[in-house]
Subunit: 256 residues, 2 copies
């Protein structure tokens, strides 16, 4: 196992799911065995990868509540090296159901131990909030990949996210690092976007990925067909951008 | 008081804050006295209206925790008829702090009683989640204005939101209605956007506002200057769209 990455940012609609799906697919196409874990009750990642959990199937909700059935809940996708642990709407109630339960921040971490070395990368798609589900992702992960939309509000939210990550590092997961800030929905001729890129690069320096994800309609059409963009339209800008990002990650961890 | 509207959708980045700010401003410019309540811990609405709470100032956090100081926390904006109850980051911890407290779903509703008839419209901007803060907005409101981004994932999330609203109607607020579905970030030449508009209109019929908000860079630039779009660039498509929306709302409630 090379890396467990949480894709997180409490600001909504910044490209967390789009990035989690497409970087997972690009790593899988490069020959890495990847597990995509969807902890967002909206389950956009699950449907964006074409997985339709049957009523009887186990999902993350069962895993979190009963702390078993982890391996049973994992399903394959059309891509040979990419597997999914699906989410479902019952997760919305998990915070309340877990109130008062000992070690509720570490349930996902405990479950991941079961997997041992069967995957090279684990990518966890987080909801737009800082609730128990996101905390479980942050305690299980080696690092956090932070999508930053090239918009004004996205800049504002970063300091809050960093505070939350620091709290996690102090209290729950001393080993958690920032994998990097990923600029998303970039538009070349948009002044605001160019300004945000400059601000983020000036502020976070080499913690910002070289790869920038441009706004590309193919990225927003692909989930409607249950496919990552590399399987929907390989020759798109979006596909190229995420393949480049995967290469950047492999450059960091391929020797492990 | 004509209407208390919650602007809600647990899907992130669909235009909740942008709609809450700009419909509030357009109503205020039409002569209505409007209170904008920001219950999102990200406080995008607060900064988008140019309000920078001083460390000592009271915010929604104080109001929710101590159930007083409501009137003290309200601040004016550059627009004569528009006032703001600001949010701040401490709200992130409110769910935990309120656990087990009697009547925690109705705190905001109790506070709004204090206002009596001093406003014509109250607009509540919600975070992208279904936690205690959003529940407080749904129990206080007459209706919910639901922004729907013209994208695939935005369609998927609607059924979950309607379930949550139904739960609220049954248990906490029997008189809560849907004010309407507002299509946002529409792009005329985008096939997916046109498809989403058709799906939403076919499915929700006259519950969908006639006004459609188009994607307009001025809408995303205005918050950087702390102004609603009508004060940043009056002759923009975004400003026209939100003025039209305000007219549609006034048509429903101006006789009250
Ligand atoms: N680079 C891009 N170009 C065009 N559209 C994009 C791009 N990235 C994401 N989108 C679209 O923007 C919307 C928001 O993206 P996405 O759902 O991935 O964000 P998110 O951060 O996961 O949202 P949430 O906060 O609700 O979980 C989606 O409809 C998606 O299809
Ligand atoms: N019609 C539009 N045209 C262009 N940009 C828009 C439009 N509406 C919103 N935006 C931009 O899209 C981003 C998301 O919008 P906004 O923050 O209002 O959504 P939200 O639903 O409030 O997000 P959250 O779920 O985080 O609360 C913002 O950067 C905003 O400036
Ligand atoms: Mg998502
Ligand atoms: Mg918002």
């Amino acid at each position: 196992l090379k890396r467990i990455m949480a894709v997180a940012n409490q600001k909504g609609g910044v490209g967390k799911t789009t990035s989690a799906i497409n970087v997972s697919a690009a790593l899988a196409m490069a020959g890495e065995k990847v597990l995509f874990i969807d902890i967002d009750p909206q389950s956009n990642g699950t449907s964006g990868l074409g997985v339709k959990p049957k009523k009887s199937a186990k999902t993350l909700y069962d895993v979190m509540l009963y702390e078993k059935m982890f391996a049973e809940a994992i399903v394959p996708t059309e891509l040979p090296n990419l597997f999914v642990l699906p989410a479902e709407a019952d997760l919305f109630g998990l915070d309340i159901e877990m109130m008062g339960r000992e070690g509720r921040e570490f349930i996902l971490k405990k479950c991941l131990k079961v997997l041992g070395e069967s995957y090279n990368f684990i990518v966890i798609d987080c909801p737009p909030s800082l609730t128990l589900l996101t905390v479980n992702a942050l305690t299980s992960a080696d690092s956090v990949l932070v999508p930053v939309q090239c918009q004004y509000y996205a800049l504002e939210g970063l300091s809050q996210l960093l505070k939350t990550i620091d709290m996690c590092v102090e209290g729950l997961n001393p080993h958690l690092a920032i994998e990097g800030f990923l600029l998303t929905m970039y538009e070349k001729d948009n002044e605001l976007a160019t300004h945000v890129v400059k601000e983020v690069r000036d502020h976070f320096k080499d913690k910002v990925f070289r790869s920038v994800i441009q706004r590309d309609p193919y990225l927003s059409e692909a989930p409607g067909f249950g496919k990552p963009v590399t399987m929907y339209q390989m020759r798109s800008v979006g596909a190229e951008n995420y393949i480049e990002l995967a290469q950047e990650l492999l450059g960091r961890y391929s020797l492990l």
